[in-house]
């Protein structure tokens, strides 16, 4: 169950990345750079800052909505990987008990603030990474990385890995299915059988690599994967990066949330 769910989720993220929307049409380099700046800005917030982080939710929300990516799907993936960050952060409220604020009669400790900050940062950074792939496609990200100076051999490695991920996942799925049918009532589920099964998979993989290499030689492979089509930076891409930089800068260096709060209070009165 777990296995199949994981596999099909991977395929789903891949399919989403081939939609045609304004976000998908942006140059991959622009999106990689914008995402990188976003991550650094979010993570650079101090430990106890919660309010300042909130405006940054705009970035993933805009990317998801304009890119027509289902938000529920992204949120589910974020939740599945959250245990480690939650586990490490959950101790803060118990260890850092200085009271920093009293809201509606409830005293709030500094630990709760920092825990909330960790959770918010986690949601922001993880969803930004997922949205980058969902709106750019993995090969797109790889080509952007290459144009941005990543070693070609590593980019080839990423592209190969991605190409054969699906093939080998299907191979593994067949093995798991056959194993499930033969391992009745939990027998034969141990490490010995596992090692042999993975050994079989490994041998098949190595044979496959040899066949791939032969086939690639036939097609003129000389140590590098050429790319079809070229990347062109258009004015729209530059505008996108410029807007992102301004947005990040304003939200980082000006207390936007407090300003909005004060404004709202002023209007209320």
């Amino acid at each position: 169950m777990n296995f199949h769910a994981q596999y099909f989720d991977l395929g789903r993220l891949d399919r989403l990345s081939y939609r045609r929307t304004a976000v998908h049409a942006l140059d991959p380099r622009a999106k990689v750079i914008a995402t990188g700046l976003f991550l650094v800005t979010v993570v650079s917030f101090p430990k106890y800052d919660v309010a300042g982080l909130v405006p940054f939710l705009l970035f993933p929300v805009l990317a998801a909505t304009l890119g027509e990516i289902p938000i529920g799907f992204i949120l589910r993936k974020v939740l599945i990987v959250s245990p480690f960050a939650v586990f490490v952060g959950i101790f803060n409220p118990f260890l850092d008990t200085r009271t920093v604020a009293v809201i509606a009669g409830l005293s709030v400790s500094a630990g709760w603030l920092s825990f909330a900050s960790i959770l918010l940062k986690f949601a922001l950074t993880v969803s930004a990474a997922l949205l980058l792939v969902a709106t750019t496609s993995f090969p797109g990200v790889c080509h952007a990385l290459r144009r941005l100076g990543c070693p070609p051999i590593f980019v080839s490695q990423l592209l190969f890995l991605y190409r054969y991920l699906f093939v080998l996942a299907e191979e593994a799925m067949r093995i798991v299915r056959a194993w499930d049918m033969r391992a009745v009532a939990g027998r034969g589920r141990g490490a010995t059988v596992f090692a042999r099964l993975v050994g079989v998979l490994l041998i098949r993989t190595l044979d496959r690599a040899e066949r791939i290499y032969q086939a690639m030689l036939c097609r003129g492979f000389a140590g590098d994967i050429p790319r079809l089509g070229t990347l062109r930076l258009r004015s729209g891409d530059l505008v996108f990066v410029a807007i992102t930089v301004v947005f990040l800068g304003v939200c980082r260096f000006f207390p936007v949330t407090e300003g909005i709060g004060l404004l709202a209070q002023g209007i209320w009165r």
Binding site: F3, Y48, V88, R163, A172, I203
Partner: protein, 349 residues
């Protein structure tokens, strides 16, 4: 044990990215000189293999929980350190992008923790001398159990250091170490046994595969076993002494951590399981009140909390600088180590 963006400070994240990028550049430069074209598809397909193998779970006897293959060591055994490092880095990159495991900023940390240690420290200094050139199953078993366990201990300890230096978590050092190390010791031993099983199976079924691999990679062959063992023994004594000292200064943290460890055996393993989905649901319900709280907390924060901030901020930046210094020294040491190890065989230009 993937590090997460949310627990990182930019200084620590950037430092480890710099270290990882330096090692990655070194590995690609080495590979460009050393490999034939054949290795490029081999690396790619083996990276996909690690994923496929991780999708197959087995039951750990006596516990009922399930384990899967980690990958760094088996790649190093099959590909040698440079190619294995790049392959591991690509596996972690895909994990960060598709499974959201870790994050893009934490990717530097994760490649460092799970790639540099097994490929550049443990494989040449521990696995190769212990396993030797022969194909004796006993030696392979000992070498891979020790190798995987040591690599995972180093990785888990680095996660602790990176988290503490980032200053986002309040967990005290002693308690955190006691949470991380024993779990990863258990995982490492199981993974080592499985790795030895796979290598043993391949050695029995298709011995020519491993022989062609061994023939092509002289790295680490010249390192004397006795010297390596003394270094690791010293390291073990030092870290053991440090751990117990920290543990004894935190007696209550210790008890608490042990309680947590016994309750957490499955948690770190079952990241992708049904249990994780259930926990995810649990967290969702705990998550929503926090959102309400955040909105409520937003306005009063600046006025009330201001006095507490300067001290804390100074603490984290000092920690960032310390971490940066430590990792720079580490990078320098590893760079020097690799250079001297690379010179010795005399086969590489």
């Amino acid at each position: 044990m993937h590090m997460a963006d949310a627990l990182l400070s930019p200084a620590v994240g950037a430092t480890l990215w710099a270290g990882t990028a330096a090692v990655g550049g070194y590995a690609s430069k080495k590979l460009k000189v050393q490999i034939d074209d054949r290795t490029i598809p081999l690396m790619g397909v083996l990276g996909a293999f690690i994923f496929a193998a991780q999708m197959i779970n087995f039951t750990i006897p006596g516990t009922g929980s399930s384990g899967h293959l980690g990958g760094g060591m088996i790649l190093a055994i099959l590909l040698g350190p440079h190619a294995a490092f790049l392959t591991m880095a690509s596996v972690l990159t895909v994990q960060a992008l598709f499974f959201a495991d870790g994050g893009l900023l934490a990717l530097g940390c994760n490649i460092w923790n799970l790639g540099v240690y097994p490929c550049y420290l443990v494989y040449p200094l521990l696995y190769r001398p212990l396993a030797g050139e022969g194909r004796r199953p006993g030696r392979i078993l000992i070498a891979s159990v020790l190798g995987v366990a040591v690599a995972l201990q180093l990785g888990a300890f680095s996660v602790v250091l990176e988290t503490l230096l980032s200053g986002r978590s309040e967990l005290p050092f002693g308690a955190f170490v006691l949470l991380m190390q024993p779990i990863h010791l258990a995982i490492g031993i199981v993974e080592g046994i499985v790795t030895a099983g796979i290598i043993g199976y391949v050695a029995a079924a298709r011995p020519e595969i491993l022989e062609s691999v061994a023939a092509a990679r002289p790295v680490g062959a010249g390192v004397p076993l006795a010297k390596v063992l003394t270094v690791f023994a010293l390291l073990a004594v030092l870290t053991g002494g440090a751990f117990s000292w920290f543990a004894s200064t935190q007696p209550d943290g210790l008890e608490w951590a042990i309680e947590r460890v016994t309750g957490r055996g499955e948690l770190s393993e079952a990241e992708h399981g049904v249990a994780a989905v259930l926990r995810g649901l649990q967290e969702k319900t705990a998550f929503l009140p926090d959102y309400g709280f955040k909105a409520a907390a937003a306005e009063p924060t600046p006025g009330d909390a201001a006095p507490a901030w300067p001290g804390i901020a100074a603490g984290t930046s000092a920690a960032g600088v310390t971490g940066a210094a430590i990792v720079l020294v580490l990078v320098g040491l590893i760079g020097l180590g690799i250079r001297s190890a690379g010179r010795r065989p005399g086969s590489t230009p």
